[in-house]
Symmetry: D2
């Protein structure tokens, strides 16, 4: 595998953060999750992202996640860490802490809570790059959470300047992803990484030139995503599509929990954690406070969908 933190390819799941019933980081479960991923054939792991509930954790908890991950991965694949916070100063502090813990790359969004402008987003990443130094930094485009869409032209320009090493696109907009790929080609910026965060369109995204995927559902089934990646690489698009279709249906686990009782984030992350719990990978399916946890009945519903997808014997 030619993956490096500078130019990512393949499957880099955004790891959930296993918690104890008391909402502490469960390092033993995290270690098992990492091994579940490495066994599945992932080419990197991404901690403290949206799926990692990074914005819920205290600095101490974040530190625990970083240290456990770096130690457990032990150089087998690159470790990326999210540095997602409201402002440049705060995201910069997370970057510094992640570097100190020994990660291979960092991932930052635009500022949020306050309304921003592309010129301000450019200033933001430029200063963060100075903090990151030699550590590659990826821009994370997630307008549903941040309220701003990262502009393709700006991203390519920041890539040209060596400020960002690439983009993780969780915008859900295939055309903007394709725009990035075409703009990268037009700029002859071959080393610039483009990853999709959309777990339901991976086969097609890879086929038009995206380098890899950061699939939340990959927590549960990393091997499935690796199979899609390998199939596309070997030219077997029909095989890739068949596997994507299986995972498309597996993604229905996020619709099991009752949205009248909890938010969309709790339902989706709760489903990933419930899946890992059912698989015996993590010890407790709870999501970060104040998220409402899934009921036993909802967890049983998720178990059925895992069975249907062939993940339980």
């Amino acid at each position: 595998m030619t993956t490096s933190a500078q130019h990512l390819t393949g499957v880099v799941p955004p790891l959930v953060t296993p918690l104890t019933p008391e909402y502490d980081v469960d390092t033993a479960s995290l270690a098992r999750l990492i091994n579940h991923q490495l066994t599945g054939g992932v080419s990197g792991v991404f901690v403290l992202g949206t799926s990692g509930e990074g914005t819920f954790l205290t600095d101490e908890q974040r530190q625990t996640v970083l240290e456990t991950t770096v130690s457990e991965v032990s150089g087998q694949v690159p470790v990326l860490a999210g540095a997602i916070d409201t402002s440049t100063a705060r995201a910069g502090a997370h970057i510094a802490a992640a570097q100190k813990a020994g990660v291979d790359g960092v991932v930052a969004t635009a500022p949020f809570y306050a309304a921003t402008h592309p010129a301000e987003i450019e200033r933001h990443f430029t200063r963060l790059a100075a903090v990151a130094g030699e550590t590659p930094m990826f821009a994370y485009d997630i307008p549903s959470r941040v309220g701003t869409k990262l502009n393709s032209a700006l991203m390519i320009e920041l890539g040209r300047q060596g400020i960002v090493a690439g983009v993780k696109d969780s915008s859900g907009q295939e055309t903007s992803l394709r725009q990035l790929v075409l703009d990268r080609a037009a700029a002859a910026l071959d080393g610039f990484t483009i990853m999709t965060g959309s777990e339901l369109t991976v086969d097609t995204s890879l086929s038009f030139g995206v380098d890899g995927v950061v699939p939340g559902l990959g927590n549960v089934d990393p091997a499935g995503y690796v199979k899609i990646f390998d199939s596309v690489r070997s030219g077997d698009l029909a095989g890739a599509r068949q596997e994507q279709d299986r995972l498309f249906r597996l993604f229905e686990i996020i619709d099991v929990a009752d949205r009248r009782r909890m938010g969309a984030s709790s339902a989706a992350l709760g489903a990933f954690k419930a899946g890992l719990y059912v698989l015996g990978v993590i010890a407790c399916p709870v999501t970060a406070y104040p998220s409402v946890p899934l009921s036993d009945e909802e967890i049983a519903g998720i178990r059925s969908l895992l069975e249907r997808a062939g993940l339980l014997d």
Copy 2:
């Protein structure tokens, strides 16, 4: 004035955080700003809110703001502190720090970045109240930033339980504000504070039962807002309206900066700071990094509007 941190009334401006050109907290300017407010007759001050750029500052900078303010106000009026962050754990840490610094009340939003649900918002405030202990906590309703509207029925229920002391409504929805007032009356929850954050409709909001206002524009012209409040209290609604109309026009300062160059937050907060700079209250008009600063020409435009409003001789 019968105001207390437990039951606020009157004008409680959300103070901007004066910064040096190097983006440090300018404590001398902050002290002058506080005196500008006290001279203007405010009944409280609110630091580290949205106008205070609380989400941009580091914990150390926040600490400086808290200490300077508590010391400078010196008990003359209640000091409120924002504890605005993405999750319960983080907002709780801010509450603990603010209490330690000696504030009289704290102000927290719903969690953000992750999508939430009313049940999760209830869990959030309930746990924060346990942290706040005897210090009154106000819920801050600002859906444009947080992505969720606080529900009137939930707020009144949390008031009934003693979890929140009141609401600061920056939703911009007069009907939701009125709903709160009517629901408070129906619940006979007289001690529950309702403040509006909408600086352009203060006269009418006070006339239908809102207790006071948290006006960003009050940074520049606290006396104007105090005049509206006093006029309504004395039954002079025509006088209140005339003053509100003057301040409505003064609010045009937020439209001076070129929105093609900067975000809406930078334009609005930059205008408040430019106004204070022109008035000689603060030494430097810069907004927090990565916000784009106003140009000299834009600051001159704001000066003209201050002149038109009678704030410069």
Copy 3:
């Protein structure tokens, strides 16, 4: 009453269109509704607006509504007619038909379905004014339906040119309404009418200079709105507020129908019609096809709220 179609004041309810169980216009019920309004003291009626389900009706049905209304009102108050359609050509055809039927004024929105621009909205109203000729035309600002907010400066400019006689503001934004009032004063455009379509903030809107109200809830309780108007005019703001508070609570009828079964429009218009049905004014509470009708149980719930509001003996 000094109201005229050129300069409206007072209460001008947007009449619902009573339908038979077969979805024909029920002219007998419409006549009773008009008498219910005139008895209530309204200063005008507005047919074929949003509450009138104008966009649901065929041209023949619209014609029936226009003729019945003009005949039944018989000059006692001005009759306004909605000319709400996707484009200039179509709205123009509705204006021509309304004129021919003898209405006193017409009401048009910006174009919708296609995305528009202020310059295109200006072209739209300019051409419609040529169709309307001597008949006063009001601009109807309802961004929730049309997708565009009418800009205050443009409205005042169109008023100055004699193209629109005024604005009906159903934006729900008190500040934009106040902006209109201030801009009208700055332009010394005294004859320009400003009506609010927000039935829950009438007392305060009137107090800062709005001329009148077009309340959907006025279908059910026109006398209540007339009482608010008269109270404000006579300087009795406390009385106005008390009546507004009563009507605020009565407006809860729109929350009775189950939103899991039907859309928001069906629930609100269904509630107004159910209220009129319970009061014996109209013969059938059905809303236009394909709206889901309210159940008997839901209608009973609305009856209870009418009782609570003192509308049933």
Copy 4:
């Protein structure tokens, strides 16, 4: 080609409606446009859709478009007609007129202006199907204009009942399109047509099972889209991608017009018409009133992009 109006495949462009400078339908230009399409190898044409400015035209103008098209196409390919209007009654009248004019299929959206609910959308299509009778009816999913997303499960159910023959998906959401394809397979509803209206992702959509495309840009370059379709069918995905990439860049014509002067619809449709004007297909590039027309300079800019795409010698 196995296309029929009942089960569409291939490229079915949504034809613009050529207008004279006086805003009449230019039937000679429309005839040339149809021949431009047939020469390009399209498998159907769709008139009076969003690109056809159907919501701008009077009933007489619509009739002219229908008759001209049916006559000019003369049975060589199926003719589809849009029946896009605010309510069931109005859309039904358009369907009846289109049938009388001899079209092969009709296309209808959910109701709009009023807020709707899935149950109401179901009632809407059910009644429209009764009007359409033997003529196949397609559901048109365009939430950006209509305000509601058509639900995959409902569409498949309506397909199962024979109410709709398929869906044209202009939601821009690849995952919802893929959901439709998977749900169709799960329901074994092979004859149900799924077309995408997203002209920038045609190669990938076809590769995962979509039947064809309704590309606005196909007005200008129908042969390009036919080439994508044929390439995918013959298994040449690289060739399909190369052609899609060329058309992706050609789509930049919609960004030439100054959005500070006109709306997004005017800029996009104006670009398609300007392209056809530059190619000599239509005689006048004007879009429907009140849209602002493109300037000569903007048309020249579009000419350059056509040259770059190899469409001019």
